[in-house]
């Protein structure tokens, strides 16, 4: 009975977060437009500038990266709201709800994951069109990667947003996380480019959750076959588990202090 109540509480919180996602329709439309604009700009301009010796078709190369970006944006939207709640002291209301703290955190993270899935869905279809149709086992791999990445990003976002009440600082933290995850990864450029520019520090990029997810997407959508699926999947599981634990501890501590 207690477990049932716990799950009910978490689902209610997740539902609330999901319904709030649609309320920011202009923000959502703006984000989708930006992602599509990125793809178009990459397709129309950058594709022609890239040396084909490194990347023969940049649009196919970057499409899995856009999938990661979609997860990041949507899952991190939870963090943006958590930050606003903290500044406006809505958190007092949240902690007074008749749900356990664990269910509250689980619900919020679940809300972020669902947002990630929904937001990414359109871009997944676009990836099928631009790249190729994955087989059934690859679909499972793609969906698992999306789930793990959304779980990681959602957990990180709600935790990081509670570190400060300052709006600008919250935005700065989000941006710093974005830059670290995306720039120190093989989302925008191949590992070879990183190796040439970063030298012995380049292997750091292998451990980025974005690199891991983008590798799995590239494998899933048949862009490449030379991917260590086990390493990347295990890495994503490790990231998701650690972020989840981190979120559980820090989010509650910051809400109640």
């Amino acid at each position: 009975m207690e477990v049932k109540e716990w799950i009910r509480g978490a689902v209610l919180v997740a539902q609330r977060d999901l319904s709030r996602f649609w309320r920011n329709i202009y923000w959502l439309a703006g984000q989708v437009a930006m992602n599509i604009a990125d793809l178009v700009i990459f397709a129309v301009i950058f594709r022609g500038l890239v040396n084909p010796a490194f990347i023969p078709d940049y649009i196919r190369f970057i499409t899995p990266g856009i999938l990661c970006l979609a997860i990041f944006i949507s899952a991190f939207s939870i963090g943006r709201e958590v930050g606003i709640e903290l500044r406006r002291e809505v958190t007092q209301y949240l902690v007074s709800l008749p749900v356990t703290r664990g269910a509250l955190v689980a619900g919020r993270i679940m809300g972020g994951v669902l947002r990630g899935f929904l937001y990414q869905a359109g871009f997944v279809i676009l990836a099928v069109v631009l790249m190729s149709m994955p087989s059934v086992d690859k679909w499972i791999l793609i969906l698992t990667s999306s789930f793990l990445l959304a779980l990681t990003m959602s957990s990180l976002s709600i935790t990081l947003s509670t570190l400060t009440r300052d709006f600008n600082l919250q935005a700065a933290i989000r941006s710093l996380v974005y830059f670290i995850f995306f720039f120190v990864s093989n989302v925008f450029y191949p590992e070879k480019a990183l190796a040439m520019r970063l030298g012995s520090a380049a292997p750091i990029a292998y451990y980025s959750p974005m690199s891991m997810a983008v590798n799995l997407y590239r494998f899933g959508f048949n862009y490449t076959t030379s991917v260590d699926v086990l390493f990347n999947l295990a890495g994503l599981i490790a990231w998701a588990t650690l972020s989840l634990l981190f979120a559980y501890k820090v989010y509650i501590r910051n809400l109640t202090r």
């Binding site: 301009i45 890239v50 600008n168 520019r197």
Partner: protein, 274 residues
């Protein structure tokens, strides 16, 4: 100064501007983070992305290496984003009720508006100085005149952007909606500029609205102006020369400053911002 009124007015403007400058003292952590991510962008992203760009780009940049071309672009986009966030602070003040306090000050509304715009712009310049230093150190810029002109035009640019954000804040009157709108405009304007690609490359795509947007974009004008200052050979890329860019920058800045003052003065009366 012989005119006591003018001296008084300047004193008031500086006093109001110092309000924004003083806020910088409390933003050391924020500044450190900005420097960290900017350094990451310059040393990792820019270097890696320029590695995969074909050498054919040199034909469009007047022979300027893509890495160097891009550095001045990201400095401009940073200046733009910082100006936006400085202006956005005003939206937060409406929410926090600080405006009521400001209105109770014995200061003329127009002077107050000039002081706020100037304060936001000056704090933007101070805030982005370390990033400018990083870029200019990589580019080995040591010419005093180039640095001075860069700072002057960066300030003009920032005044225009802050004025624009103030207009937006008054027009929208909601911190949440302003946040969303400003974010969207921020992302869109940077994409539709010459931050990443030179104008001839954009023109070659044949998409006229994209080309026109990039041509009219203040971010394009400042980044191209800085490129000409640092790399005189980039002048060849600007088909119309540098004068239209200078005129544009001055008009953009002064135009938005005047409109912002007018709007600010009018909207502040009788709770017009609510």
């Amino acid at each position: 100064m012989k005119n006591p009124d003018l001296r008084n007015n300047l004193k008031i403007i500086l006093l109001v501007a110092s309000w924004d400058l003083m806020k910088l003292k409390n933003q050391k952590v924020f500044l450190a983070m900005r420097i960290a991510w900017f350094t990451l962008q310059v040393l990792v992203f820019a270097r890696a992305i320029s590695y995969i760009v074909s050498q054919g780009i040199l034909a469009y940049t007047g022979g300027v290496d893509y890495y160097y071309f891009y550095l001045l672009g990201i400095y401009t986009s940073l200046l733009y984003s910082t100006s936006i966030s400085r202006g956005y602070v005003v939206a937060d003040e409406f929410d926090d009720g600080i405006v009521e306090y400001h209105l109770s000050l014995p200061i003329k509304r127009s002077l107050f508006a000039v002081g706020r715009v100037l304060g936001c712009s000056l704090s933007t310049i101070i805030f982005t100085l370390p990033m400018m230093a990083v870029v200019y150190a990589i580019l080995k810029v040591s010419n005093f005149l180039s640095i001075l002109l860069s700072l002057i035009f960066a300030l003009l640019f920032s005044i225009g952007i802050v004025g624009f954000v103030l207009l937006l804040v008054f027009a929208v009157r909601s911190a949440d909606l302003t946040d969303i709108l400003v974010g969207a405009i921020d992302a869109l304007l940077v994409r539709l500029s010459t931050v990443f690609y030179p104008l001839p490359v954009i023109e070659a795509t044949g998409i006229a609205p994209y080309y026109v947007a990039a041509l009219m974009n203040p971010i394009s004008h400042l980044s191209d102006f800085l490129r000409v200052l640092v790399f005189p050979e980039y002048y060849l890329v600007l088909r119309q020369g540098i004068v239209p860019t200078i005129v544009y920058m001055v008009a953009f800045s002064m135009g938005f400053l005047v409109i912002a003052i007018e709007y600010y003065e009018r909207k502040l009366e009788a709770g017009g911002w609510k």
